[in-house]
């Protein structure tokens, strides 16, 4: 037998303190679990003694989905058009937004919103215990607005696939075939009207009449009609971008009057779009000098040299033909009704000072056309519509605040946006990239407005004007503030647990737990007598401590969590049993109660330690592996195992030391030796 007995020589008072400490721990934990009772006590004390002890927050346990009933929703985040390295953070943004929504809007006690990645897909799990109406919840989450900022997409459209090329070729072959038929039949004497009736794809027209056309809309047909007479039928096929036609010119009429002119512009500081540095007086004197110099012949040359209009050095100030209403009133008035080749007086507009030379006047014709039309197919018909816009990364995620605002000048109702730091940086980049270009604001996938950027915006605030009424703006601001999602979401999994099912599970599990505890207590006392009793006390303290920890940390209690907890009770018992068996052995070998006790704990410890560590290893992997059920179980089991190591080694041990100090001497050994045959006691 090994003579080296390692035990702590503690004196009685040290042990007493430890025992007392354990009892206090017990009471504290009880209070944590049942604050209601503690509050009653506190209130009583407060009444009697007028000491103001604050009452404890009376929160219940955090009940999980299966115990309380509620909803479990899984959403998929649509991250396809977000660059890979930003996906995770976008989904985090979604998580935050949904959580805000759910907390605020639904009055749910403790929503659990978490992101998860499954393979390449990003998902968000939303657990709403206590929710009565799941479709309400789904709807509310679904209403979250998706706000995106996009810039013009200048990427090339992709090439056609072979299949698509074949598709287009086939279609156009078909079209050509039809047209050939038309021409043949007309050669054979059929009239255009008969062809229209038989072949034309414009079924909605009356006799193929497309009305009066201008040069802009149907340039090819117009060109032919210019040299044709009324009533003529084109002998050839006229090809346009979207199809082929054989046409008849029905009649002619006058179109709008148009004027052509050249001008010299001298703009001054403060004029619209002006980049020159002249002052108003300087500009005026300059234009007056030019006025003295200018003639019809040198007009272009002078324009090229002096005009501040961008591009004037090439164009010579030529504006081409324009219709009424296209130029500002002051400009138009100076040229509209004067004879050709008149040079105007100095004209002042918002743009600066002008000299205008009228170079021509015309009234263009419009032609009435009827036609038989066969459509053709082009690449743009087959390719998916080119997104005019592409993502910038700026979205609702970086939105700090939205407010309703009113433009002081125009009185227009607007929505003003404030971005957070990340958003401010992003926004300033975007605006500096896109000066003089459009940046589009999309809400729920629809374009809300696409203002032109005047200058880089570095203070992180933007304004959306979109013809809002006060009500509309207010509603939008509300939605934006309660959370604008950076990406769209789609629900892929829902689990509703009826509350009553949860209730039943709760009560039955609770009862099962109690029964389990009582059975074990009974067993311990039968087998180990006094030690058993001590261990039962220790087990009760253990349970209370574990539950208090659950509540304190806020572990959500689910059915599986309770199962893990109950299992850990069994394992706590195991640790005690290891010690007691050892104790029996030591006593049998004739040691005193005290030394036998110490020895028992020392000897039993390696087994307890190794066993519990392997269980903990399994738990670690379970926590990593699982979600929901699995994690709840593993967390409860781990906590239970850890606490049980504590209660066995510290609490049971010290209780035993304490009580044994009263029972020294071998005659008390019978209290511990349970099922050992009497002959063995010496």
């Amino acid at each position: 037998m090994d003579k080296k007995i390692i035990f702590k020589s503690l004196n009685k008072s040290q042990v007493k303190w430890r025992v007392a400490g354990s009892l206090i721990l017990f009471l504290v934990c009880l209070v944590v679990i049942f604050p209601a009772y503690a509050n009653i006590g506190i209130d009583w004390v407060n009444n009697k003694t007028s000491i103001g002890i604050p009452t404890l927050p009376n929160s219940g346990f955090n009940l999980g989905l299966d115990l309380q009933g509620g909803a479990h929703l899984v959403y998929q985040a649509k991250v396809d058009d977000i660059p890979e390295n930003e996906r995770a953070s976008s989904v985090e943004g979604v998580r935050d937004v949904i959580e805000r929504r759910v907390r605020g809007g639904l009055g749910v006690a403790e929503p659990l919103v978490q992101t998860t990645k499954v393979g390449e897909e990003y998902r968000v799990i939303v657990e709403l215990p206590g929710i009565k109406n799941v479709s309400d919840a789904i709807q509310m989450i679904g209403e979250t607005p998706v706000l995106e900022f996009k810039e013009a997409n200048n990427d090339k459209p992709r090439d056609l696939t072979d299949a698509e090329k074949a598709q287009i070729a086939e279609y156009n072959d078909n079209a050509n075939y039809k047209i050939k038929n038309i021409l043949d039949e007309m050669k054979a004497g059929a009239s255009l009207e008969q062809m229209i009736e038989k072949y034309s794809e414009e079924k909605e027209l009356v006799m193929g009449n497309i009305g009066f056309i201008t040069e802009e809309v149907h340039p090819e047909i117009y060109a032919w009609a210019n040299s044709a007479n009324d009533g003529d039928v084109s002998q050839i096929v006229i090809k346009e971008m979207d199809g082929m036609s054989v046409v008849r010119k029905l009649s002619t009429r006058d179109g709008e009057k148009e004027v052509s002119a050249k001008h010299i512009l001298i703009c001054y500081r403060g004029a619209s779009y002006c980049e020159s540095q002249f002052s108003e007086e300087e500009a005026l004197s300059k234009i007056n000098n030019l006025k003295a110099e200018v003639t019809v012949e040198n007009f272009s040359e002078l324009a090229k040299q002096n005009s501040t209009e961008p591009g004037a050095s090439e164009s010579g100030g030529d504006l081409g033909f324009f219709k009424a209403g296209q130029m500002v009133p002051e400009f138009e008035n100076a040229v509209w009704n004067v004879p050709v080749n008149t040079i105007s007086e100095v004209v002042k507009t918002d743009f600066g000072y002008h000299l205008i030379l009228k170079t021509g006047e015309q009234t263009r014709k419009e032609y009435e056309i009827s036609r038989v039309f066969i459509s053709t197919m082009q690449a743009s018909d087959v390719l998916p519509p080119e997104d005019a816009w592409k993502q910038t990364g700026l979205s609702g995620k970086q939105l700090k605040r939205a407010e309703v605002a009113q433009n002081t000048q125009t009185g227009q109702i607007q929505v003003s946006l404030n971005f957070d730091d990340a958003g401010t940086t992003l926004f300033s980049d975007i605006t500096s990239r896109n000066v003089d270009k459009q940046v589009a604001i999309f809400l729920d996938g629809e374009i809300l407005s696409a203002p032109v950027v005047n200058e880089a915006i570095i203070d992180g605030s933007a304004v959306i004007s979109g013809n809002f009424t006060w009500q509309e703006a207010k509603l939008l601001v509300q939605r934006l503030n309660s959370g604008a999602l950076p990406v769209g979401i789609e629900i892929i999994n829902q689990q509703t647990v009826d509350a009553s099912l949860g209730m039943d599970s709760l009560t039955t599990s609770f009862k099962a737990g109690l029964i389990g505890l009582m059975l074990v207590a009974l067993l311990m006392i039968i087998f180990y007598r006094l030690s058993g009793l001590i261990s039962v006390v220790s087990l009760v303290i253990y349970s209370v401590v574990v539950l208090a920890i659950f509540k304190f940390i806020g572990v959500t209690l689910t059915l599986s969590g309770i199962a893990g907890f109950i299992l850990s009770i069994g394992m706590a018992v195991d640790a005690n049993v290891l010690v007691f068996e050892r104790l029996k052995e030591e006593l049998t070998e004739g040691k005193s109660l005290r030394s036998a006790t110490e020895e028992a704990f020392v000897r039993a410890w390696p087994s307890i330690r190794d066993g519990n560590i392997t269980t903990l290893i399994s738990c670690v992997f379970l926590i990593w592996f699982g979600s929901g059920f699995v994690q709840g179980f593993a967390v409860a089991l781990s906590l239970g195992v850890l606490v049980s190591m504590f209660t066995t080694i510290i609490i049971t041990r010290n209780f035993m030391r304490f009580i044994f100090s009263f029972l020294d001497g071998k005659k008390f050994n019978w209290l511990f030796l349970g099922g050992v045959k009497k002959e063995k006691i010496s």
Binding site: D498, L519, L567, M571, E581, V620
Partner: protein, 297 residues
């Protein structure tokens, strides 16, 4: 007390071997019956306030919408319906249709939809986890038992513990393959969790026995390894029985008094832990002796 466990090592190993092989055969023949977590789909539990319609009537509602369906009665008023994946619209549509063929109220007690994408992940991770846990355990035991590398190397203790453990898992799986085939009992995530728990717990049990053997190795001078092991078994016998018994007791309490949703889970645990207790004594230890004998040859 000196029960000669080791003397009959061959017999125990033979019985256990046969049991394991039978389990494997069951598994190959019938496989486990996968639950909704693995196959994906929708699981609906309905309570009918008045008469529960005949199964065929209910099925007709689903078939009309082009869905696969199977039904299960539960008690007097409850019906469990299993069908292919329903999106929310379809779900509501089916409920409306069902209400039309029923007199009285229908309450939907629970509705669980799992798209097949989720289940694939679960499967892979389950296997991963089991492998990792086994490795973790072997490594830890190799380290903890490093002082008793004679006559048997410490890592072998870990390996044998894992073998005993695999036997336990196989038994549980075999039983559930049987139950799945004859009673339609399904395995879901809880089953996997039960397996993992059995894993940790069974090794725990085996370790306690090995631990005693280790202590004996360190303290006693005994040439016959077999005698040493046998002594260790006897010394820890009472403790093993007690421990397993108390744990099983709590599980029985859970089984009979706990919620019905965890029944198969608890059953798996019961079988696994009972087997774990058995394997520590009748497999892990005899194997040690056998290995030691082989080494000497």
């Amino acid at each position: 007390m000196n029960i000669p466990f080791i003397k009959y090592s061959k017999m125990w190993l033979f019985i256990s071997g046969v049991a394991a092989v039978i389990s494997v055969i069951f598994l190959i023949m019938w496989g486990l019956k996968p639950g909704i977590d693995f196959t994906g789909g929708s699981l609906m539990e309905l309570r009918f306030a008045e008469n529960r319609p005949v199964a065929d009537e209910i099925k007709a509602v689903f078939v009309k919408s082009g869905l696969e369906v199977s039904t299960q009665n539960s008690g007097e008023k409850i019906l469990i319906v299993r069908t292919s994946f329903l999106d929310e619209n379809k779900h509501q549509e089916i409920l409306t249709n069902l209400k039309e063929v029923t007199t009285g109220d229908i309450t939907e007690i629970s509705f669980e939809t799992v798209g097949p994408t989720i289940s694939q992940q679960l499967k892979q991770r389950a296997w991963m986890a089991i492998v990792l846990v086994s490795l973790g355990i072997i490594i830890y035991i190799a380290y903890a038992f490093r002082k008793v590398s004679r006559p048997v190397a410490s890592w072998k203790y870990g390996l044998l513990a894992v073998i005993a453990l695999i036997h336990d898992l196989l038994i549980v799986i075999g039983v559930f393959a049987l139950l799945g085939h004859f009673y339609g009992i399904e395995v879901n995530t809880p089953f996997v969790v039960a397996l993992l728990t059995v894993l940790g717990y069974s090794v725990n049990d085996t370790i306690v026995v090995y631990d005693r053997i280790r202590e004996n190795l360190l303290r006693r001078r005994e040439d016959d390894f077999g005698v040493l092991v046998n002594a260790g078994l006897n010394q820890t016998l009472w403790r093993s029985v007690n421990t397993s018994f108390t744990t099983l007791l709590t599980l029985f309490a859970l089984y009979f008094f706990g919620g019905s949703t965890i029944h198969s889970f608890v059953l798996a645990l019961l079988i696994g832990i009972a087997s774990g207790a058995y394997s520590s004594i009748f497999i892990a230890s005899p194997l040690l002796v056998v290995v030691e004998k082989w080494q000497r040859k």
